[in-house]
């Protein structure tokens, strides 16, 4: 267990290769990876390739899936499939950006709090105590009402800024045990400076743990984001999967038989993305935490 960090850092290529070999060996992890890559790829490339004009067509309201409209049409006769392809960008972007913000805050504060202990640690713990007490989604809904969240970046910032405490606690706990190890002591004796000891020696040792929690944070952010859209607390400008569901709900499309494909498509996309991410984390956990592998 107590490998020197150098052994982890240098043979990076082979480690990555081995990592992917493990990942492809597990069926569910591989499927999860493919799903996530497909959806992220579609959302990133889709808007560049597909023509964004999606004309309304009064003759094809709530149209059934056909050759012209693969997933049918919505209440205004717009093509559903096009909306799905174009509507993933915000959801995916906010999900990953918010998760990145959360993870960075949690890692920085968590590791510094554990490394220095003392008053900083106590204050941070108290703050997490309070923030964790208020259900995140409730706080988000209230803050969403106060601020005008008109850009995806603001949404990502708000979601990211409200969801770091739980991860910060587990990072803190990990650092507390890691900092007692020999390699940290060695680094300290070499007088590398606090910054390098914490972020150069300790944090890289939690890389796998951080990666898994990053993906979990993505799923949580997407849950929060789509929830905000559903309640209409995020701006309903443009079109994305969350807005499509809100639209179907608010206009009573739920109660129309013909609207089924229009409602099911965004729901299916979000569930698939979440499922892919979760399958990925489960497999990553198995690969990176050998204790779970003993079957």
């Amino acid at each position: 267990m107590t490998q020197p960090t150098a052994a982890i850092v240098t043979p990076r290529a082979s480690a990555v290769q081995g990592f992917f070999r493990e990942l492809t060996r597990s069926k569910s992890g591989f499927v999860g990876l493919i799903i996530v890559l497909l959806i992220v790829g579609m959302s990133a490339i889709g808007p560049l390739v597909v023509d964004p004009s999606n004309p309304t067509d009064v003759n094809a309201i709530w149209g059934r899936p056909s050759a012209a409209h693969w997933l049918g049409t919505d209440g205004a006769g717009k093509d559903t499939f096009k909306q799905i392809v174009l509507g993933g960008r915000t959801v995916v972007f906010v999900g990953f950006a918010a998760a990145a913000i959360t993870t960075v805050i949690a890692v920085v504060i968590g590791s510094l709090a554990a490394y220095f202990r003392g008053r900083f640690d106590a204050v941070m713990l108290q703050i997490t105590d309070v923030v964790m007490t208020i259900p995140q989604i409730v706080l988000l809904a209230v803050m969403g009402a106060f601020f005008r969240l008109d850009s995806p970046l603001w949404l990502a910032l708000l979601i990211g800024a409200l969801s770091w405490p739980i991860l910060m606690r587990s990072i803190r706990a990990q650092v507390l045990s890691l900092k007692e190890r020999e390699f940290v002591e060695a680094a300290r004796l070499l007088d590398l400076g606090t910054f390098r000891v914490v972020f150069g020696e300790i944090v890289p040792n939690m890389a796998s743990y951080i990666l898994i929690n990053f993906i979990i944070a993505v799923t949580n952010a997407i849950y929060a984001l789509v929830g905000l859209y559903l309640l209409g607390l995020a701006p309903l400008a443009g079109s994305n999967w969350g807005i499509m569901i809100n639209d179907a709900w608010m206009k009573g499309a739920m109660f129309q038989n013909d609207a089924l494909p229009y409602i099911l498509s965004p729901v299916a996309m979000i569930v698939l993305l979440q499922l892919g991410l979760i399958m990925l984390t489960r497999t990553l956990e198995e690969i990176l935490n050998p204790r779970l592998r003993d079957k």
Binding site: Q126, V130, M132, I134, W249, M254, N257, L260, Q274, K295
Partner: protein
């Protein structure tokens, strides 16, 4: 708390006071209760400043709307706003803060703007019990089923139940609860006509009065079915998986092997040796989840028009009914703090090491 007791000890010549303080510090239960009170106090303070510092001061919004809508003079509108919000921008901040805290202690959270003449406390008392009822019952069912399934999975690893529940658990975990709720309506009610959605809306059938009778209870349960089904299905898989990994770990412990070697009965090993120790690490998680489910209620209740605290919060956010938003935030927080407190106390009963050990926390 520690510093307070230290300074107090230094100051007091009468020993009895110091002894009491030392006892407080040494008693895990008291320490834990004080910490819970402190967190509630911090959240109350946070809510107080949030309403005052965030963009869109509710008092100004209210005063402006009254002037614009009814042509009232600024003074009348301001006086009304002061009565509604139980704060008046003219009084100094510290004074408002003290009044606010005194109000909370006395159970006065101000008046609702949305429904004039109703106090926030009345409004919460009307809706919160329904959320606690549906979420609480669903949690109990979900946790019990989940823990049982998890144990079975751990004992029969690689079996059909294990694989089936693992896959299903992942899928159910992946579906956000509000999407699950929407699917229940779309597929169950609209497409297949299995559910009489229009009759099941609300928390009870109009005309059925609250009383302690079978008719009333069954009506309440009938209306709570859909939210409860959603809460149960979206959480049970997680419990099963968590319990499985916890049980698997315990099964590998030496004392289980020893218990087997001593020839103890399977049932006894399962309940006293494995079950009890496997549940232990989950208690805190169950409490955290309780908070999450109460938060998630805002979506689920909205979808099913179930008149709980979630839907009330949503309506007051939309109507900018600030006193109600404040009050509900506070009440939800207190609920979650209490859930955590109970979990920690249960913990300390189940695991004596917590009570006696850990000096620093």
């Amino acid at each position: 708390m520690t510093t307070a007791s230290v300074t107090a000890e230094r100051r007091t010549s009468e020993a009895s006071f110091g002894v009491v303080l030392r006892k407080v510090r040494n008693s895990y239960v008291l320490r834990r209760i004080l910490r819970a009170l402190f967190v509630i106090y911090l959240v109350a303070t946070g809510v107080f400043f949030m309403v005052r510092l965030l963009p869109g001061n509710p008092v100004d919004v209210y005063i402006n709307s009254q002037i614009a809508m009814y042509g009232k003079s600024y003074e009348t509108a301001a006086a009304e706003a002061a009565a509604l919000f139980s704060f008046d921008p003219g009084t100094p901040m510290w004074r408002q803060y003290v009044d606010y805290l005194v109000g909370i202690v006395r159970g006065d959270l101000g008046m609702s703007i949305l429904s004039p003449g109703t106090s926030v406390v009345q409004k919460i008392a009307l809706h919160l019990p329904w959320t606690l009822f549906s979420v609480g019952l669903a949690m109990i069912i979900s946790v019990s089923i989940g823990l049982l399934l998890g144990m079975v999975m751990a004992y029969r690893r690689g079996g059909i139940i294990d694989h089936g529940v693992s896959t299903l658990g992942s899928v159910l975990h992946a579906i956000p609860n509000y999407l699950f709720a929407i699917m229940v309506v779309v597929i169950g009610a609209v497409q297949l006509h299995l559910i009489d959605f229009t009759r099941m809306r609300g928390h009870s059938t109009p005309g059925v009065t609250p009383e302690f009778s079978f008719r009333y209870l069954s009506d309440a349960l009938y209306h709570a079915t859909l939210p409860m089904v959603v809460y149960i299905f979206t959480t049970v898989g997680t419990w099963a998986l968590v319990m499985k990994s916890s049980t698997t770990q315990i099964l590998g412990e030496d004392y289980v092997t020893v218990a087997r070697a001593r020839g103890l009965g399977d049932g006894r090993i399962r309940s006293m040796y494995v079950g009890r120790n496997a549940v232990l690490p989950l208690v805190a998680q169950i409490a955290t989840q309780a908070g999450f489910v109460v938060g998630g209620a805002i979506f689920v209740e909205q979808t099913f028009s179930y008149d709980g605290i979630g839907i009330t919060l949503f309506q007051s956010i939309n109507a900018r009914d600030y006193p109600v938003i404040q009050g509900i935030l506070l009440v939800i927080t207190i609920t979650v703090v209490l859930a955590n407190l109970i979990a920690d106390l249960v913990y300390s009963v189940l695991d004596p090491r917590i009570r006696t050990g850990e000096r620093e926390d």
